[in-house]
């Protein structure tokens, strides 16, 4: 082979390596935003589409390479799944149930302790209607800024029990609320309590990693 041919082969080989690496990187990134299966959609007698979303918030997830990180889990197909990318139907009423296991941390901005964007601007904590709360009490929030949804999640007051599934006292609160999705699109949701222990401002680590305290909602 001539020296020019050899040089061309080297350049082509280098390009191929770069293209494959880029494809792998993009594929891995796409996998972060791929949602799990969509919840079942029902239609009420008035014709309103409805869906249920069952979540859990844990003080430490207990598995993955970041076992001590705070995390959301979603229940799908009867089992808990580690994913924060969900599919919801458009123009539907979504009923959310959150099993909240984590302890109180408090909000950096007290304004975010008001329930907004839900039906009736209310959440129910163990059956009690709550419209706003002391900003030192939330463990996390469930917020979709594009929809104006902000739900502070009341924290477990007793720090004795670890905020995980299967703790001896199964200590958690059941928080329920409903909100309406708009048209199709890709939304982001996040927690606004700076709950990432050990990180500057509490906003690093799980707060900035999809799969823990934030994710995507695909409205279809």
């Amino acid at each position: 082979m001539t020296s020019t041919g050899r040089k061309l082969m080297i350049v082509a080989g280098g390009l191929a390596v770069v293209v494959v690496a880029a494809a792998l990187y993009i594929t891995q990134w796409l996998s972060y935003i791929q949602p799990e299966q969509a919840p079942a959609v029902t239609v009420s007698s008035s014709g309103q589409k409805q869906a249920n979303l069952e979540l859990a918030t844990l003080g430490s997830i207990g598995f993955t390479s970041h076992a001590t990180w705070v995390a959301y889990l979603v229940r799908q197909g009867g089992r808990w799944v580690h994913s924060t990318n969900w599919v919801l139907p458009a123009h539907a009423l979504v009923h959310v149930t959150i099993l909240q296991y984590d302890t109180q941390t408090g909000l950096r901005n007290p304004f975010l302790s008001q329930v907004r964007g839900t039906v009736g601007s209310v959440e129910y904590v163990d059956g009690h209607a709550v419209h706003y709360m002391d900003p030192t009490l939330p463990a996390h929030t469930f917020s979709i800024p594009e929809l104006g949804v902000n739900v502070p999640l009341y924290g477990i007051p007793n720090a004795t029990y670890p905020g995980t599934f299967g703790n001896p006292h199964n200590t958690h609160e059941t928080i329920t609320f409903s909100f309406r999705t708009g048209g199709k699109g890709l939304l982001h949701w996040q927690c606004f309590v700076p709950c990432a222990a050990g990180f500057l401002f509490g906003n690093g680590g799980p707060m900035q990693t999809v799969g823990y305290m934030d994710g995507y909602i695909h409205v279809v």
Binding site: D134, P145, L147, F199
Partner: protein, 276 residues
């Protein structure tokens, strides 16, 4: 062809093309638009500098193409070109012209910049001494990862996730952050102010008519920087003065229960802790 004709021919082409380009530019609706006096000033500045740039750019292209074509080497011509001599008039001319353009740009830019940071110059001349100018509406913009919220200290200090401002009244934005550096950018209002923790940065706007505007974050601030915007249902709005007054009443009722938990209004806040 005489030297004079080598200047007149491309000169005429340049003049015709420049006039056509500049006339076209005066009819274009350049961004950011005319929703506020600041935005209008920026749009006009964009037009003025585009016209200067177009004129200079066309001159460069026309003369370059003309000389490349007219003075190209012919096939078989291996001789030297004519001797090149300097021309004091030509050199003085383009030196003076360049200096005039640069000085004009510096003066224009300085005057425009002064007009955007001095509140009395943000309002139309007829409003210099009006009550709307002497008592601007103050809106505090608070950046946090990853949402903007707004406080209205003159109306009890309530906080809101959406921004509403009145038309025909000077608005002063006091911009700060609770965590990292953000950039508050209301594009069609013609204003961009850094939101920095522990710092109060101030900007002014005088909106001329009711409109909607998008707010974005212009400083990379973390994972959801791209979603840190008020858009769609959360659009910012310029309202008429009566509509703004109604909105304030409704917002005070809706967000009022939260007021007791908000810190006393201050230009900067130091929420704790900073590490966990």
């Amino acid at each position: 062809m005489s030297t004079r004709r080598h200047l007149i021919v491309p000169g005429l082409v340049w003049a015709v093309l420049s006039i056509a380009a500049d006339l076209t530019l005066t009819h274009l609706n350049l961004p950011p638009g005319y929703a506020t006096t600041t935005a209008a000033g920026q749009s006009v500045t964009g037009q003025v500098f585009s016209m200067i740039s177009a004129t200079v750019g066309i001159a460069v292209v026309v003369f370059a193409v003309y000389f490349l074509v007219v003075f190209r080497g012919r096939p078989g011509d291996a001789g030297d070109g004519p001797p090149v001599r300097g021309d004091v008039r030509l050199q003085s001319g383009w030196l003076v012209l360049s200096t005039v353009i640069v000085l004009f740009a510096a003066a224009y830019g300085s005057i425009e910049l002064e007009g955007q940071v001095t509140p009395q110059l943000v309002v139309p001349a007829s409003q210099y001494h009006s009550a709307a100018t002497r008592h601007p509406l103050i809106v505090q913009v608070i950046g946090q990862q990853w949402q903007w919220t707004y406080r209205y200290p003159q109306y009890g200090g309530f906080e809101s996730p959406v921004i509403r401002i009145p038309a025909n009244r000077l608005v002063q934005f006091d911009v700060t952050s609770l965590d990292v550096i953000h950039g508050w950018w209301a594009y069609t209002l013609g204003i961009k102010v850094n939101a920095e923790p522990g710092v109060n940065n101030v900007g002014y706007v005088y909106a001329l008519k009711p409109s909607r505007f998008i707010v974005e974050c212009s400083s990379l601030c973390g994972l959801w920087h791209g979603y840190m915007r008020n858009t769609g249902a959360q659009d910012g709005e310029v309202l008429s003065q009566s509509a703004f007054a109604s909105w304030v009443k409704g917002a005070q009722r809706y967000y009022g229960p939260e007021d007791k938990y908000l810190p006393k209004f201050a230009l900067v806040y130091y929420p704790s802790p900073t590490t966990y």
